[in-house]
């Protein structure tokens, strides 16, 4: 028995639709960018927890900054790398609000390393979301602290050379050692299963904030198809083969 598509497409049969927290703006991200999925997940979690009017998000610098055009919550824009410092201030002034920072690897792990480490060490009661794609996406694919050994970027066209450029930085493991953090996890958004896991992690981050447990830190290992010069599907495969062995997924700390 065949059913007409028009009979299926009815409001009562709806199982998934765009979150109402997202604006109607078309995202500026390149096709297949993990930022879009991460943004969508934050929006869905905010909608499900019903905290849209209680969230203050901190925008960083990089591709991630334009998230303030897509999420209908209150925003503050921080200087490059200073989102955790601004998040600290916002949370201390308004402890009744949920504060979430959203940063890329160039922002969080390079210029903002000091702010990141000290905010986590103080155990500021905020949720930090860290998008790690191993490259500076917005400025043209330069090498980031998280660029893997041998990975090509525009400032290391022959691949990262450890002798010359130093070692890639596992900032999430570094942060997990700090006493202020309550939840440190590394997730990804390359498959539907991974997306669901990441969503659970973000929900936990908001719940920890409500329970005043300390800093929750969620790293999302992401792709940068334009920077890596691969198609979105190839990027996901490359990430599975190269990023995951160095940045293994899973909870690092949960207390």
């Amino acid at each position: 028995m065949s059913v007409d598509i028009k009979d299926i497409i009815k409001p009562e049969n709806l199982v998934y639709k765009k979150s109402s927290v997202l604006t109607d703006n078309v995202m500026h991200y390149c096709p297949g960018c993990s930022h879009g999925v991460a943004a969508k997940l934050i929006a869905e979690v905010i909608e499900e927890l019903g905290i849209q009017r209680e969230v203050i998000a901190i925008a960083p610098v990089g591709c991630s900054v334009l998230l303030y055009n897509y999420l209908q919550v209150d925003w503050q824009e921080a200087a490059h790398g200073r989102a955790p410092a601004l998040g600290t201030a916002v949370k201390r002034l308004r402890p009744d609000r949920y504060v979430v920072t959203y940063q890329g690897d160039g922002d969080l792990a390079a210029i903002g390393t000091a702010e990141t480490i000290h905010a986590c060490n103080r155990g500021e009661n905020i949720l930090m979301i860290f998008i790690n794609n191993g490259i500076y996406g917005m400025t043209g694919g330069q090498m980031a602290p998280t660029t893997l050994e041998g990975m090509k970027a525009s400032t290391c066209p022959f691949g990262r050379d450890l002798e010359h450029d130093g070692n890639p930085l596992k900032i999430t493991e570094l942060i997990a050692q700090l006493p202020g953090t309550c939840y440190v996890t590394r997730q990804s958004v390359h498959t539907a299963a991974a997306v669901r896991k990441t969503k659970k992690a973000i929900i936990k981050g908001f719940q920890n904030q409500k329970a005043e447990k300390g800093t929750s830190f969620i790293e999302i290992v992401s792709t940068c198809s334009s920077g890596w010069k691969l198609t979105p599907a190839q990027s996901n495969k490359w990430m599975e083969e190269h990023m995951f062995p160095f940045y293994p997924l899973g909870d690092i700390k949960d207390r």
């Binding site: 028995m1 299926i8 497409i9 049969n13 199982v15 998934y16 999925v37 969508k40 958004v189 599907a233």
Partner: protein, 78 residues
């Protein structure tokens, strides 16, 4: 026996043709259109509408949130 039938609606204006939904679809329902949208992307569409099971995997991985998923049970004659 009841059978699950699904359908998706793709926002062809916002779709950037990244094809992540094509990869994520377990029933190989989705394909990229030969036509392009206003931005010049080959947008996603239901290439084989009969096989859709409404699992919403495509919508979960869509970076631009342009897929809406519907699902219903269809009673099949024994």
């Amino acid at each position: 026996m009841a059978k699950i039938k699904g359908a998706i609606v793709v926002d062809a204006v916002a779709c950037k043709g990244c094809a992540l939904c094509v990869e994520a679809c377990p029933s190989k329902t989705i394909g990229l259109a030969k036509e392009v949208n206003a931005k010049g992307y080959n947008f996603a569409y239901m290439a084989v509408p009969d096989t859709c099971i409404g699992c919403a995997n495509c919508a979960m991985v869509c970076p631009d949130s342009c897929i809406t998923v519907y699902k219903m049970k269809v009673a099949e004659p024994a």
